[in-house]
Structures are given as structure tokens and as C-alpha cells.
């Protein structure tokens, strides 16, 4: 059995990639569903690959990943919007950085870029600060819903015979003759002949369990606002000229509607500290207002959130076999979401087959496509009409803001969603203006239709995140 630890975007795509081959694949995740670690809270951008230092692992994998996303999104049935990205210059000296991007882009094999002058930029992005002098525009950049990438990869993994176990926190690794014995917090044990560590923020700690050393991971917090204004703020991702640590605080359309502003970059002490702070939020406001002066932080925010970057001193991915024989996929910092499909190929084709010399045989019946659609988007009303004729639940709306129907909620439950957030993340319900004020009740009604589910069992996301203390009257 090949065990993959961690169902973030990296682990999920590696597991799904391995399910192409004649191997038993099991994905272990401590949360209740996929994509709830670093993969949950980030900018969701599929980067063009023009700003990673040439020669780094990051540069080659993110470029390849960007290209792979087209086929992957069709196969796995998630949406991608290649809206393009601008890196905007406000001062003369900013063009030095833009010239550097041109050099990097050429070396990294990015062809889809253009230098945009002031006038053109005004036409492309009318809401952008009028002082902008020009930009580096890359049309390959896009946005996705990041956890949906992980979730849809897991769906496809299961379709191809792979398994995923949630609520399994790895606490100890023992080397045995036939490979490894894995110990989980709930007392269970599993044997595996190969282990792939995709533990995100915790990958360094998992490496330690096997006695291996990988670059230490320290958390760098990024805070965000999600806004839902009525008018268009930007058509593409808008980056400022970055500082030395990050790509800077950006404004981007989000795939499910609205705009993200953020992130900040602040080193924090705890890998669990995903709190928002007034300091961080006010920094986002100031920086975003500089890019898009009409952004309205009084009226339009629907929520704030924060993510933690798994950062290392080296600022590069670390993907290698440790002394123990375990494969560590560690230091997957930005642009890890972009690179993930390429990381999956790199691990299976290069690390496992070439470096470890393990021969993998392709299964003839591998099906790369997900045909269960959870979220249905219809090109025309006629299409929608004929779908509802077959599935009346698809004509019954549960979330009015994001237009999610009962059909999709039920599908999500069938797909294994167990908590309220599972359903929300899978379907997009409650990510609109009212943030679940309306649909949470309806979702719970649907969950309770299964008579085995008791109100006290309903949780928001993790264990102990209960919603109801009891029924009011028995």
C-alpha cells in the first residue's frame, strides 16, 4: 500500500495521480475532509510562473502546473477562470522589477506576457488607481476555488479505487521490514510499503517522526477580506510590485463571485493561529485602496479570513526521499496550488519511478474524469430546464445568494460531506452576501432528513464544533 499523509491540494493530487497505476493507494487526513489546511485559505491564483527564480524547483513546477490546469479542470470538473494578471508599476523604478520579470519569464518559458502602457491599462482596468504607469500582464494567470481542486481530486481517487480516511491524525512512524507502520491518534495502525508526506505546515514534524530532517517550516500569516460589491472592481488579478517576502497585497476576482483583497505577510508563532487581527486587516485596507481606490471596506466586505504559509528559509519546495525512505513533499509554499498538478507528476514519474526505481504499471481502466457534478453550471436556461425535468431537486434553491440547489446539497452529502462546512465548501452555499444566514437552516433540515443524524451530531467543521446543545422540546 502507498500511504499519502495529508489531503491538501498536494496530497490529493498525488494520490489521484497514483491511482492511475496498479497500486493500493490510501490518503490519510486528520481533518474531516480534503483541502482544509493551507489549501483552504489562500488567494486561489493559478500563477503564470513568470516570477519564480529561474532554476528553482518552484519555477519549473509552477510553469508546468499552470499548463496542466486546463486539462485537469476539465477532467475533474472544477472551474478555472483564466482572467490574466497585472503586476502594476506606480513609479519609474518599478520598471526595473518589470524588466526582471521579462527576463524570468523568458527563462522560465512563459510566452503569454505583454508590457501594458498607461493608456492601455486604463482601458483594461478602469477602476485601477489612475497613477499606475503600466503593467506586466500575463494572460495565462487565473483563479480557481482551491479546496475544490483537492476535493475533486479525492472524488476521482475514490472513483479509481483509491481510498481516503478522514479524522486520522498521524502521530508516529515506525520502520519495519516491509516498509513502515503508521500510528494514528485514534489508536489505529496501518502498514505501508511507501509513505508520502504531504503534511503542509506540519510536513517538517512528520519528517521528524521518521527521523528525517527537512527544512524547518515556519508559519507566515496572510489576512484577507472577501468583498461583494455590485460593480466590477477588477477584471484580472492585480499585483503591486512585491516586497522581498511575498507577491504583495493584491486584489483579485474570486471564482465564486466577489473579490479578494490581501494577503498580508506576518511571521507568527503558532501553526494554528489563523486569527484575523485589526492590524492585519487595516494593512489590507490601506494597500488595497492604493491599488483600487474605489474599493469599499465599509459597505462591501462579507467576511475576513487568514491563511498560514508553510515558509522555509530556502523559500523553495523541498521534494525528496529522506534517509528513512519516506518521500517528503515539504515546504510547499506559494505557488504550491499552481504547482500541485506538476508536483504530482514529479513525485510519481521522477521520485518514485526514476529515483527509487519502483516500477508502476498503468491500469487499463483508469478514468481521469469526474462525471458526478456537484456544482452545475448551465450555459443556457434550456439546459437548466431539461436538467430540472430529470432532477426536480435542481429546481429547489437552498442558497439564494450563490444559487445552490437541494440537488447539489444532497450530492455533497452523498459524496461524504459530514459537517456544515463540508457542504458549504463543496457546493459554494453560504459563500454569498448573507454568509449562510439564510441557507444554514435549510442545509440542516436536509441533513436531518436522514433519521440517523441527531441534531447534537451536527458539527460546523471539526470534532467538538457542535451547533446544537439539544432539541428545544422533546
Amino acid at each position: 500500500m502507498i500511504a499519502i499523509i495529508g489531503a491538501g491540494v498536494t496530497g490529493s493530487l498525488i494520490a489521484r495521480e497514483l491511482s492511475r497505476y496498479e497500486k493500493d493507494v490510501v490518503l490519510f487526513e486528520k481533518n474531516f475532509s480534503a483541502g482544509r489546511g493551507v489549501t483552504k485559505s489562500n488567494s486561489g491564483i493559478i500563477h503564470g510562473g513568470y516570477d519564480d527564480p529561474p532554476g528553482s524547483l518552484r519555477a519549473s513546477l509552477s510553469r508546468k502546473g499552470n499548463i496542466l490546469y486546463t486539462e485537469l479542470s476539465e477532467d475533474l470538473n472544477f472551474r478555472i477562470n483564466r482572467c490574466g494578471s497585472h503586476v502594476v508599476a506606480f513609479e519609474k523604478k518599478d520598471f526595473e522589477y518589470i524588466n526582471k520579470l521579462v527576463k524570468y519569464a523568458n527563462t522560465n518559458g512563459v510566452k503569454s506576457y505583454e508590457i501594458i502602457d498607461r493608456e492601455q491599462l486604463k482601458i483594461m482596468e478602469p477602476e485601477l488607481n489612475g497613477n499606475a504607469l503600466g503593467s506586466f500582464f500575463c494572460s495565462d494567470s487565473g483563479v480557481v476555488n482551491p479546496w475544490n481542486v483537492a476535493v475533486s481530486a479525492v472524488t476521482n481517487l475514490q472513483k479509481n479505487g483509491g481510498e481516503v480516511y478522514y479524522d486520522k491524525k498521524l502521530i508516529r512512524i515506525e520502520k519495519i521490514n516491509s516498509g513502515f507502520r503508521l500510528f494514528f491518534e485514534d489508536g489505529t495502525q496501518y502498514e505501508a510499503d511507501l509513505v508520502i508526506n504531504c503534511g503542509g505546515l506540519f510536513a517538517d514534524e512528520i519528517a521528524k517522526m521518521a527521523g528525517d530532517i527537512v527544512p524547518e517550516i515556519f508559519p507566515v500569516k496572510g489576512e484577507y477580506y472577501l468583498l461583494k460589491p455590485e460593480k466590477t472592481l477588477t477584471n484580472s488579478v492585480i499585483f503591486p510590485i512585491p516586497d522581498e517576502n511575498t507577491k504583495g497585497c493584491l486584489v483579485t476576482p474570486a471564482i465564486d463571485g466577489g473579490y479578494l483583497a490581501g494577503p498580508t505577510a506576518k511571521k507568527v508563532l503558532s501553526k494554528y493561529d489563523n486569527t484575523n487581527t485589526e492590524e492585519g486587516l487595516s494593512e489590507v485596507r490601506t494597500r488595497a485602496e492604493k491599488l483600487v481606490p474605489n474599493i469599499n471596506f465599509r459597505k462591501d466586505p462579507v467576511k475576513t479570513f487568514a491563511g498560514l504559509r508553510p515558509e522555509t528559509e530556502e523559500k523553495d519546495f523541498y521534494i525528496d526521499v529522506g534517509n528513512s525512505g519516506i518521500i517528503h513533499v515539504s515546504g510547499i509554499r506559494s505557488p504550491g496550488l499552481t504547482a500541485a498538478p506538476a508536483i504530482a507528476k514529479y513525485v510519481t514519474e521522477y521520485i518514485i519511478q526514476e529515483k527509487l526505481g519502483i516500477k508502476l504499471t498503468e491500469r487499463p481502466d483508469f478514468d481521469p474524469k469526474n462525471n458526478v457534478r456537484i456544482i452545475d453550471s448551465f450555459e443556457t436556461l434550456e439546459e437548466m430546464n431539461s436538467f430540472i425535468k430529470e432532477h426536480p431537486d435542481a429546481g429547489e434553491f437552498v442558497c439564494y445568494c450563490n444559487k445552490v440547489t437541494k440537488y447539489e446539497i444532497k450530492k455533497a452529502i452523498e459524496q461524504g460531506a459530514r459537517s456544515i462546512e463540508d457542504i458549504k465548501f463543496l457546493t459554494g452555499a453560504s459563500f454569498g452576501e448573507c454568509q449562510g444566514g439564510y441557507c444554514t437552516g435549510k442545509i440542516i433540515e436536509i441533513m436531518l432528513q436522514d433519521k440517523r443524524v441527531k441534531p447534537e451530531d451536527i458539527i460546523l467543521n471539526e470534532k467538538n464544533s457542535w451547533l446544537f446543545s439539544s432539541e428545544v422540546r422533546i
Binding site: 477580506y225 455590485e230 489563523n274 486569527t275 484575523n276 487581527t277 485589526e278 486587516l281 471596506f297 466586505p301 462579507v302 467576511k303 475576513t304 479570513f305 436556461l381 434550456e382 437548466m384 430546464n385 431539461s386 430540472i388 425535468k389 426536480p392 431537486d393 429546481g395 429547489e396 434553491f397 439564494y400 445568494c401 452576501e433 448573507c434 454568509q435 449562510g436 444566514g437 439564510y438 444554514t440 437552516g441 440542516i444 433540515e445 441534531p455 458539527i459 460546523l460 467543521n461 471539526e462 470534532k463 467538538n464 464544533s465 457542535w466 451547533l467 446544537f468 446543545s469 439539544s470 432539541e471 428545544v472 422540546r473
Partner: protein, 403 residues
């Protein structure tokens, strides 16, 4: 399918509109997205509804039943429930979706009475963890009153609007310990009678000029740290109060539902005239989709008027007159309607920006100079204005404090 008048949204405003239009001999179709009509009335099981409209003190569901009964008795009203309006096209075609599929409905005139939704707590940008146990008041109300679910053991209410106050009492009655209500403004947001009936009668403390600083817990809320604020809402240190509760119920305001009709002129809600007309001649609106009203009686009266006007419009009996903009001047928070059509009387509703012991409302162009005592932002002021036809394009409404 076609209908003379279509009403979108079957709350108090929509039911009243449908009724009135049907009395004007129009065929009416009422479209409601929920499985039943009634809107927010369904979940308000307390008394205090209908004192003016039905001259009776009713609960929300009773108020609804009385209206619904009348609506059901009309053979020219069709109710489509479980039907969500997808779009309204300028050629007077309405596209709605229900379990039967995608439907098209042609009309002569349209009334939009889509009500309001709660502002989410998450939009406030407050520090803290993402925890279970944070509910908007309307959702908590729905859990308890309609789904028989108790959302926690102990609670702090954030925001003293009417829904927050009503919920403080409801939660207490259902065995949830309510530790207090905090309000960021220096005065309460809800009706005075609710402060008395829901807080004072149950000894629930109300803290003014206080805001949430941090929400803490371990997967579920267990602690809410609050702080005093100054008049610009800046946190003042040194006077923090920590509430050890497992539930935060937020009641931080309602926002009119204008989706998917944003093509109509609107600020928070739709901008309408005293004839309830929106920026499209054939579309009317009333109730909480225009401004948030505190009494259902006003909502039902405005709904009736909108239904009546829509019926006249459908019969081509209503020609648009010149519009005069009503401008909120000194001390005016909310002002309704946005415009006055000449030659027709109007009822003007407004809210003061801050409490005053005594004030005078001045609209010289309309000959209005009227004194009010004990003015509260939470209580709407309503005045009748006769028809007039002076030549002007704007009128300012001012409320001057009298010392």
C-alpha cells in the same frame, strides 16, 4: 403564462399587494421562493403585530394567516411557492425556477416585495478564531421557533436591534442563559417597548457603546471579549468585559434584498416614489425591500398601495408624473420614499440620526413644521403629506433639535 400583475415575494408586503391588485380586477401571480408565504412573519411567534392594520395584537404567524386567508379566497390570485425568480427582462418577462423547471411569465406590471436579509457578523471584520456558535439572530430564531433546535447553553447578543432583543427573551425562555446585550451605539437600536418587554422584564443587562474585540474558544465559542468604544467606534482600553458564553447571536442590521433586480435604481433598497414606483415605470416596490420598517402595519399599508398602483398601471390608468427628489437633510438617517410624484398625497417615513428629547421636522415646501418629543432612531416617524404641485425638483427634509 401571463398575468396582469406579478408580485415577487410573499411576505406581508407581497400578500397585501396581491390582495389589493386582485380587488382591482387584475389577474395576479404571487411568486415566493420559500415553501410557504409569510416571509419573516413565520418565525416571529411573539405578539405585537397588526395593532394598526388589523386593530388587534397578533403574533407573526397569526398576522400571516389572516392575510393569507384573504389571498386564498380570491380566485384571481395564483400563488407559486418554492419558486425562485431568476431574472426580470425589460420586455416584461419574468423568468422563475421551480421544481417543474424554468418558467416564463409575461406581465403588465410588477411588484417587488423581496424583504430584507440579515447583515452577517462576519462582515464586521472582527478579530478572532473561526468557531462554531456564531449565529445571526434570525437564524437562531428559525432554529428555535421553526426547527426545535437549541443553539447553545449561554449567549451574548451583539446588537440591540429588535431581532436581537426579541431573541434575548426567546433564548431565555427556552433555557439559554443570556448574559447580556451589547450595542456599539450610545443608544439602543430596537423599539423602546422591546427593551422593556425583552430585557428589563428578564433582568438582562444592556451595555451601550460596547463592541466585540475578540472571539475565543476551542472549536466552539467559549469566551467573548468586549470593549468600550468612543463616539467614533475606536476601542477604548482598560474597560474590557469578558463573557464566558458558548454562543454569540448577532443582530447587526437588515439589508434590503435587491438581487437580481439591481438594474433598478437603489441605494440600500429600491428607490421608489410615493406611488411605490421604481425607476422603471411598470415596476413597483414596497416593504423591507425599499427601507427596513419596524412595524408590519406600515409594510402592509405600503404593500397595498403598491398593489393598487400596479393594478392601475396594468390597466393603463396611471401615467407617471414629474418626480421630485426627497433629500435627507439635517439629523435624518433614513428617509422614505425617495421621490414624490406630484398631485398625489404621500406618507413620509423617517428615522432620526440620534436621540433627541424634542425636535422639529421642517419641510417648508410642503408646509410642514411639526414638533416631536422623545425622538429615537429606532422608532420611525411617520407623517402624511397632502398632494402638491409646485415646480421644484428637490425638497430637503430637516429635523432640528429643540433645546
Amino acid at each position: 403564462m401571463s398575468s396582469n400583475v406579478v408580485v415577487i415575494g410573499g411576505g406581508a408586503a407581497g400578500l397585501a399587494a396581491a390582495l389589493k391588485a386582485s380587488e382591482e380586477k387584475c389577474d395576479v401571480t404571487l411568486i415566493e421562493r420559500d415553501s410557504d408565504v409569510g416571509g419573516v412573519l413565520n418565525q416571529c411567534i411573539h405578539n405585537g403585530f397588526g395593532l394598526d392594520y388589523f386593530k388587534k395584537n397578533l403574533t407573526g404567524p397569526e398576522f400571516k394567516e389572516k392575510l393569507k386567508e384573504k389571498v386564498l379566497s380570491k380566485s384571481n390570485i395564483k400563488i407559486k411557492s418554492g419558486a425562485f425568480v431568476h431574472s426580470v427582462e425589460k420586455d416584461k418577462n419574468i423568468v422563475f425556477i421551480d421544481r417543474n423547471g424554468v418558467n416564463n411569465l409575461k406581465c403588465d406590471s410588477l411588484v417587488i416585495t423581496t424583504g430584507a436579509k440579515e447583515r452577517p457578523f462576519t462582515s464586521l471584520g472582527i478579530s478572532g478564531k473561526r468557531l462554531s456558535g456564531i449565529y445571526s439572530a434570525g437564524l437562531a430564531q428559525k432554529f428555535i421557533n421553526m426547527m426545535n433546535l437549541r443553539p447553545g447553553n449561554s449567549a451574548l447578543i451583539v446588537g440591540s436591534g429588535d431581532i436581537g432583543l426579541i431573541m434575548a427573551r426567546r433564548l431565555t425562555l427556552e433555557g439559554v442563559k443570556v448574559e447580556g446585550v451589547i450595542e456599539i451605539m450610545p443608544y439602543p437600536g430596537g423599539l423602546q417597548r422591546n427593551i422593556k418587554l425583552c430585557l428589563e422584564d428578564f433582568s438582562i443587562p444592556l451595555y451601550l457603546s460596547r463592541a466585540v474585540k475578540y472571539v475565543d474558544g476551542d472549536r466552539r465559542v467559549n469566551k467573548i471579549i468586549t470593549t468600550k468604544v468612543d463616539d467614533k467606534f475606536n476601542h477604548i482600553g482598560g474597560d474590557d468585559i469578558t463573557f464566558n458564553v458558548d454562543t454569540l447571536v448577532s443582530s447587526v442590521g437588515l439589508v434590503p434584498n435587491v438581487k437580481p433586480f439591481e438594474f433598478l435604481e437603489h441605494s440600500a433598497g429600491f428607490s421608489t416614489t410615493n406611488k411605490n414606483r421604481t425607476s422603471e415605470n411598470w415596476i413597483f416596490s414596497a416593504g423591507n425591500s425599499t427601507v427596513v420598517f419596524d412595524l408590519v402595519d406600515y409594510v402592509a399599508q405600503e404593500g397595498e398601495k403598491a398593489g393598487y398602483m400596479a393594478a392601475l398601471q396594468a390597466k393603463n390608468d396611471l401615467s407617471p408624473a414629474g418626480k421630485i427628489k426627497l433629500l435627507p437633510g439635517k439629523n435624518i438617517g433614513i428617509l422614505y420614499p425617495s421621490y414624490i410624484e406630484k398631485d398625489y398625497e404621500s406618507k413620509i417615513y423617517l428615522r432620526a440620526r440620534q436621540p433627541m428629547e424634542k425636535g422639529v421636522l421642517l419641510i417648508p415646501e410642503l408646509g410642514i413644521e411639526k414638533e416631536f418629543e422623545d425622538i429615537k432612531p429606532s422608532e420611525m416617524i411617520k407623517i402624511k403629506v397632502p398632494a402638491f404641485d409646485k415646480n421644484t425638483d428637490r425638497i430637503e427634509v430637516n429635523l432640528n433639535e429643540l433645546k
